[in-house]
Every structure is written in C-alpha cells, then in structure tokens.
Amino acid sequence: MDIHFIKENIPLYVEAAGLTVRIALIGILCAFLVGLFCSMIRYLKVPILKGMVQGYIELSRNTPLLIQLYFLYFGLPKIGILFSSEQCAIIGLAFQGGSYMAEAFRSGLESVSKVQKDTGLSLGMTEKQVLQYVVLPQAISTSVPVFCANVIFLIKETSVFSAVALADLMFVTKDLIGIYYKTDEALWMLVIAYLLLLLPISILSSVLERKVRYAGFGNTSTVSGK
C-alpha cells in the first residue's frame, strides 16, 4: 500500500466528497418535496394527477438511476434539452428518490387511523386543519425510519454520477486508477470516503428514530402514569 500516494491524493477525495454531499443534499431535498407532493396527490385522491403520480412512481422505481441519468444526459439533448452534469445528477436523484419518499409518506399516511381524523373533525377542524395538525405530523414521524433508509440509499446511489462526467468520488477513483494503476489505494480511499459520509448519517438516523419513538408518535401502548 502506497501511503505517500494516499496522503497526496486526499485533497482530491475531499473535494469530490464535497461535490457528492452538495449534489446529494440538493437532490434529496428535491426528492423529499417530490415525495411529499406525490403522496398528498394520492392521499387527497386528486383526479387525473393521481394516475399520473402512480405512473411516475412505477417508472421511477422500476428503472435504474444509471439509465435515468443516461436518458437525461445523452437522450434529452437529441430533442434540444441540455442539462449540465450537476443538473442531471440532481434531477436524476430527485426523480429516483421522489418515488421512494412518496412510498415512505404513503405508509405513514396510511398508519394514521380514521378515528384520529374523525376526532379532529369532531373538534370542528376543517379537512385541511386535520391534515396539517393531526395527520401529517404523525405520518411524517412514522415515516422517519423508511425516510432515513431512503436517504442512505440515495447517497449510495450517487456513486453512479461519474457516468455523466461528474467529478464525484467514483470519478476521482476511476481517474486515479486509470492514470497511476494504484487500484488498491484508490478503492480503499473510496470505501473510506463513503463510510465517513454515511456512518454519521446512519448514527444520526438511529438517534432520530429513537427520539421520535420516545415522543410517542403513533405509539398506542399504555404505560401507567408517572
């Protein structure tokens, strides 16, 4: 193992990791919004849009991110739509992640019982208020474990961004292997870089899940008063 080579190339990995994190953050935020929007359309059973959302979810979940990226980067320019590598990566992540987030929210929304909604209505709340103050907070908190798993999954998916010439971690690794034939060193650095990115998120997810559980979201178990 060439330690000197590793030390020399750490800044390259740091820079690539920065780019990966930036793209992942924007992409996942967009995926979250897409997912929330889609789940609301399905929950409120909006005519026409509901069918379109269903179609999008099936298309998104049943095609690999790599194919979606190829379509965005190489396919769309043929009809005059040009996106940069970064834009493709963000759109791809939002497109792929949106459907997973929508499914996470759907399971959360379905976990809120009809009687909870009826209770909100019986207190004089409007349908919108019931959704805002009763259903959504519970649905989102119930979705936290799936949501966290999706975030980790989507960050791992960023490893295909090099396919659209984005200088991310995978791109740098392939570059170093191609130029210096330092396969072991480059791959170890790649593994460690992803671990350093994902481990804190995994730990944070566990803490968040525990916190949400502690607050009693969706927990109906009875404990005698303190």
Binding site: V115, Q116, D118, T119, G120, L121, S122, L123, G124, M125, T126, Q129, Y133, V134, P137, Q138, S141, A215, G216, F217, G218, N219, T220, S221, T222, V223, S224, G225, K226
Partner: protein, 250 residues
C-alpha cells in the same frame, strides 16, 4: 322547553342495502342527559356519528337550536364545535402532550388566545385530577386518564351538547369508575349529553331519559326508573335480562 338538538326521520344505510338506522326521531332538551342502550350492532354508535355528521345520512334532518343543519360546507365545522364528541378509544393525538392536545382545537379552530385556553385547561385538568399530567404524552397515561383528557378536550370547545360514545368500553373496571364520576359531575352541572353505554348502573344513575335501540329503531323511550324496573317491550326485557344474568355470573 324547545329541544336543543333534534333529528327528524334520520336514515342511514351501508352499501345502500343494509339499513342501520331506520327513521330515527330524536330530541334532547337543554341540560338533559339521554342515555342510549341496546345490543351491539343496533346502530347506537352510528347514530352518534350521524349526530356529529361524521357519517353522512341517507335521509333526514338535524336541527340545532331549532335551525336545520346543512350537510355540507363550512357550517359543519361550526356545528361540530357546538356538538362535541368523545370516542371509545380516547383518540388523543399521540404526537402532542396533554396540554397541546387540549390547546390545539380551541387555538386553531376558535382562534382563542393561548393564555386564556391554558388557564381554563389547567382548571379543568385540576378538576379531573390530571393537572400534574399536563406535560405528559398520551402513551404515558392510563386508559382512564386518557379518557378524562379526551373529555376535557371536548369541553374546552364549550359545546352545547356532548356526545359520549361508549367511553368506558375499553377501560378496566377501576378506570371506568373514575371516568364515570367525571360524567356524573358534568350531568349535575347541567351539561346536555347523549351517552351510548353498556354500563347499566351508570345509565340508571345519570340518565334523565333512556332510549332503547334495536334493529336501527328506537324501541322504547322512558325515564330510567321505569325502563330498568318495568321495561314495556319484550325485546327490552330480554336485553336487560342478559345484564342481570351477567351480573349473577360475576
């Protein structure tokens, strides 16, 4: 005295064929406590849900203070604020602590000031013996405590009529007593209530009038002394006998 809440020819069916409520004519006066009893599946709970407009009626009219209530539109929210409901399974909002459960609807629906509601909520919590639980989450409360919070939550909306749907059905016998005491106190204070229950002793003690329902109709309507001692119909006699046998078996 004019009835405060009234239904005329209320009908409700599920799937268009199974008629669960057949032409219910019901009325309750200010300060009156009407207890509805009857076998499971006779339509008691559905009737309460129709009264709260949570279940759409097929036919019939509901009148509050003599005015017919429209089945759709924003008036329903106003109506529900005046006709509160407490459910069998408490249904506190699990993501909010007790105080936030109590503040939510008065703040968001009635746009009242937080300080004012909080003061009132604390007074009511003191009355039902739960002041020290004001910051607890629902999962930290026993069934009886949850149900008392649910009653306080409904009361904070200042309803004219309170509908109680088998509020002790999911509770242990010990907890039943603590909840029923609260309801009895409310009755003494003149709260107008429609109560669906299987607790016959409680029904006898709290009711001004008892309705016996079976097969989606009101079979008998009497004061509790008459109904529980001298039921008129065979069906009511048969129903009450099951409770006597149940009591003997215990």
């Amino acid at each position: 005295m004019e009835p405060i809440l009234q239904t005329k020819h209320l009908q409700k069916s599920y799937d268009g064929s199974h008629q669960i409520l057949k032409d219910i004519n019901f009325s309750i006066k200010q300060g009156e406590v009407v207890v509805i009893v009857g076998p499971s599946g006779c339509g008691k709970s559905t009737f309460l849900k129709c009264l709260n407009m949570l279940e759409p009626m097929d036919r019939g009219e509901i009148y509050l203070d003599g005015k017919s209530i429209e089945r759709e539109g924003k008036n329903i929210s106003l109506y529900r604020q005046k006709v509160g409901m407490v459910f069998q399974s408490y249904e506190l909002f699990p993501h909010l602590n007790v105080m936030d459960n109590l503040l939510l609807a008065p703040r968001k629906v009635q746009k009242r000031k937080k300080e004012e509601i909080q003061k009132e909520a604390e007074t009511l919590l003191l009355r039902v013996g739960l002041w020290e639980k004001r910051k607890a989450y629902p999962r930290e409360l026993s069934g009886g405590q949850k149900q008392r919070v649910a009653i306080v939550r409904a009361l904070l909306m200042h309803p004219e009529v309170l509908l109680l749907d088998e509020i002790t059905a999911a509770l242990d016998p010990e907890m039943v007593r603590e909840v029923l005491q609260v309801v009895q106190e409310l009755a003494k204070e003149g709260m107008t209530m429609v109560i669906v229950t299987h607790e016959m002793k409680f029904a006898k003690a709290v009711a001004d009038r008892v309705l016996f329902m079976d097969g989606g109709i009101i079979v008998e309507e009497e004061n509790p002394q008459e109904f529980f001692v001298y039921p008129k119909t065979d069906r009511a006699k048969q129903f009450l006998n099951t409770f006597h046998y149940a009591a003997l078996e215990i």
